[in-house]
């Protein structure tokens, strides 16, 4: 691949991200148009921002690679990633927006009136964030290696440096607009090349090398258990992702939080058409990419493989730009929300504390990413979702919808879920992919119900610890608020 074109695409995306971050809101206005209404974030913008933040390396590269490898089984990933928002819409979006808490630890502390719960939640949230950043950096490493031939570490380091610089320099002031821009960039970067490829294929009467149902690697299909467990992880895991939940505070009220979620569902559904198309085209026309051992790179390689020439180079550069946008947006969103939690709970308040926390939040996962090497992005992210579903999700759901939750129950449930799911992840890595039974490889189906059960049982046993502030908090969560001053 033409390394120069790809490198130029990377540079353009990085600079554009930084520039929008710095100058997005620098347009000063005079009182002539002081309307506060014109300054609230419209659901459309906010939904784009959520899409931009949510669609990570796993969605951009991993889903297509998985479809190439395992066909229709892999469709559960995009289905789960999207359907998770339905859960968010139904159970969490509006009450959380009304709670007045800005982070998940803020929420649990306010709901359960306990510092200890806050500490445990903070720990879990930081762990989830770090685990989630690692696959993004792996994706960046893979992209750089495949497209420019530079060593892998360059990609991870480049993402961390760009994110740290923009966050530390205060460039994330208008983070909503940066993320919204990233969504549309990602969509364009996937849609234009695949449409072009389809036109070229249709025009030249290219005949498929293999039938779409043929598995290029000859792997057996996933079991029913694996698919159910994966779906549980993705459905419930979306509820607890720290960087996604923060976005809902940009909505002026609970009602627009719901509308935003509805638009997000649409935006994600449209987006996932394209990785699926890549996977299918890859299966039919370039199955050898699946046997190279790097299915995640398929999206990057397909345009050159099937179109070739200068046009192929340009399309590949566009895909690379989109992929980098995915790493940058998800990582920066995670770093900002982690830095908020770390600076508040560990380093103490203050601008300096936030910057230091941002650097720590980005550098620790960089260390993990450099020490390890990625195999399957979608799988790694799926496991992070399983961990979130076993820890943060039960606290959020029970905290919002059950009056009986106590601080002791919340801590017991989170610790149990975290230990079970984390233990399964570690046991799986020790045993190796080939020797891991399905129930260990996909722990969500039993770790999530166990976490819920422990939380409920311990709360029942410690019913005397229900906080005195319960009724006030619950009223606040569930009654519609007065609208923000937007009318005139």
């Amino acid at each position: 691949m033409n390394a120069g074109v790809a490198a130029a695409a990377l540079a353009v995306v990085s600079v554009a991200t930084a520039v929008i971050g710095f100058y997005g809101l620098r347009i000063s206005r005079t009182t002539g148009d002081f309307y506060v209404a014109s300054r609230t974030v419209r659901p459309w913008w906010n939904a784009s921002a959520i899409g931009g933040e949510y669609l990570s390396a796993a969605s951009f590269l991993g889903v297509a690679g998985l479809i190439l490898l395992s066909g229709t089984d892999a469709l559960w990933f995009p289905v789960g990633y999207t359907a998770g928002y339905l859960m968010l819409l139904l159970f969490v979006a509006a009450p959380l927006r009304r709670s007045g808490a800005y982070t998940i630890p803020d929420f649990t502390e306010a709901r359960l009136d306990s510092r200890a719960v806050r500490k445990v939640t903070s720990l879990v949230v930081v762990l989830v964030g770090w685990l989630y950043i690692v696959p993004q950096l792996h994706g960046a490493a893979l992209t750089i290696r495949i497209t420019t031939g530079l060593p892998s570490w360059v990609g991870s380091v480049a993402v961390v440096v760009v994110v740290c610089l923009t966050v530390v320099a205060g460039g994330m002031r208008s983070i909503t607009f940066v993320q919204a821009f990233q969504y549309w960039l990602k969509l364009t970067a996937l849609a234009v090349p695949i449409l072009f490829i389809l036109f070229v294929l249709a025009g030249t009467g290219y005949s498929p090398v293999a039938a779409p149902a043929v598995n290029p690697t000859g792997q057996p299909p996933a079991s029913l258990y694996s698919n159910v467990s994966l779906l549980v992880a993705l459905l419930f895991g979306t509820l607890g992702l720290p960087h996604v939940l923060v976005r809902f505070y940009t909505n002026p009220d609970g009602q627009s939080a719901r509308r935003t979620t509805l638009i997000v569902l649409g935006l994600l559904s449209v987006f996932y058409l394209f990785p699926t198309a890549y996977g299918l085209v890859g299966r039919m026309f370039a199955p050898e990419l699946g046997r190279s051992g790097q299915p995640d790179a398929m999206v990057l390689l397909l345009p050159r493989e099937l179109v070739g020439g200068a046009a192929g180079d340009l399309l590949a550069a566009l895909v690379v730009a989109g992929a980098f946008a995915a790493f940058l947006s998800t990582t920066s969103g995670l770093v900002v929300s982690l830095a908020g939690v770390v600076s508040q709970d560990v380093l103490g308040a203050g601008v300096g504390g936030f910057r230091l926390a941002a650097v720590v939040s980005a550098v620790v996962p960089l260390g993990f990413a450099l020490m390890t090497d990625s195999l399957a992005l979608a799988g790694s992210v799926g496991l992070v979702f399983a961990f979130t579903a076993s820890t943060v999700c039960p606290v959020l759901l029970l905290g919002i919808w059950w009056r009986g939750l106590t601080d002791a129950g919340a801590i017991a449930g989170m610790v149990t879920g975290g230990l079970l799911c984390g233990g399964a992840m570690i046991a799986g890595s020790v045993a190796g992919a080939a020797n891991t039974p399905a129930w260990l490889a996909q722990p969500a189906a039993w770790s999530v119900p166990t976490a819920f059960a422990v939380m409920v049982l311990v709360s029942r046993a410690t019913a005397g610890r229900v906080p005195a502030t319960l009724s006030r908090v619950m009223t606040r969560l569930h009654t519609p608020e007065r609208p923000l001053a937007t009318g005139r």
């Binding site: 998985l66 007045g100 929420f107 002031r173 308040a349 570690i426």
Partner: protein, 393 residues
Amino acid sequence: MPDSPLLTAAAVAVIALAIAVVVAVGLKVLRSFRDLGTDAERATYHTLHAASQAGQHLRRGLNPAGAAKASRHLRTLLGCDALAITDTSGVLAWDGAAEEMKPRLMDLAAGVLAGGRTAVLPPGPDGTGTGLAAVIAPVRADSRVVGVVAAFAPSAGAGLVRAAGEVADWVAVQVELAELDSSRTLLMEAEVRALRAQISPHFIYNSLNAIASFINTDPARARELVVEFADFTRYSFRRHGDFTTLAEELRCIDRYLLLERARFGERVQVSLRVAPEVLSTVIPFLSLQPLVENAVRHGLEAKEGPGHITITADDAGAYAQVTIEDDGVGMDPAQLTSMLAGHIDGDHVGLRNVDARLRQVYGDAHGLVIETAPGEGTLITMRVPKSQPGHDA
């Protein structure tokens, strides 16, 4: 799809966590072997430690939750079998043995509550009715008896009687401190009310005059201004709630500036830069408007030629940061400091009130930061946490 790198990362995290736990436990064990001084020093330490622990829980006055937590520490302090705290109407907390006596305690304490003198009751049917003796000491705050501390032990010696009396007096001091706190809050509320009343006379007079000047020349604008004026007063006179959102406060400032510009014309120029992420941040009611009014009245009114005010609101991590800058006449920093400290009365009552309220609600780290010098304009910065689940806008 198990993925060994990620899992290795998770394993490293867990191992690091385990090491941290071991180190923390080790340090704690080591610390327990340290030399902690003579017996007397340790006794003093334990007494003061128990007292300060209990004191934290009593800072909100005599209430069941605080009393329950404090009674545990007070019982260790007195070394008795059971300890109860009551107010004038009922038992707030009972810690330790013989809880079956709880319903009868108010009867036993009635004399103490009425007379204000410590009572010592022997064990048995003539006294407490159980195997324990009781010392019931009054808690006297501001020369009123507001409750009792009752200590139960097998025998009530002079030592226990004296100590129980001292504990009751100490509880009384904590209750008085709590009352001081609540009267400070009341004072703040009174100041806010005064501030609302204070905005009006000056501003109402000027606004009405400005509107009057438009009635003949531009009736449509005059009508519009009257509506704005009505909306502004409705907001500032509203009765409910100590908090509002940044968006509502900005709207109030918008109306205020519209009226001021009717008077000053193009002499007042305002630019605004607000991050949408912080519009729903909760801030104390009327905490920005006085700052803008200060910029107009003390910064620009005294100055010749046009003046410029810049208002920004930024998303700064866990905080929302609001700045108000004018290029007016500025202030003398020394004078400003003594005015904010309340040593001298100045025209800047609004500034002082906002500063005091911010410190009271969010702590001393969140007071106003004011950068100014004579002739150099003024920059006021305010930082509030975005997350305030306890405050309803």
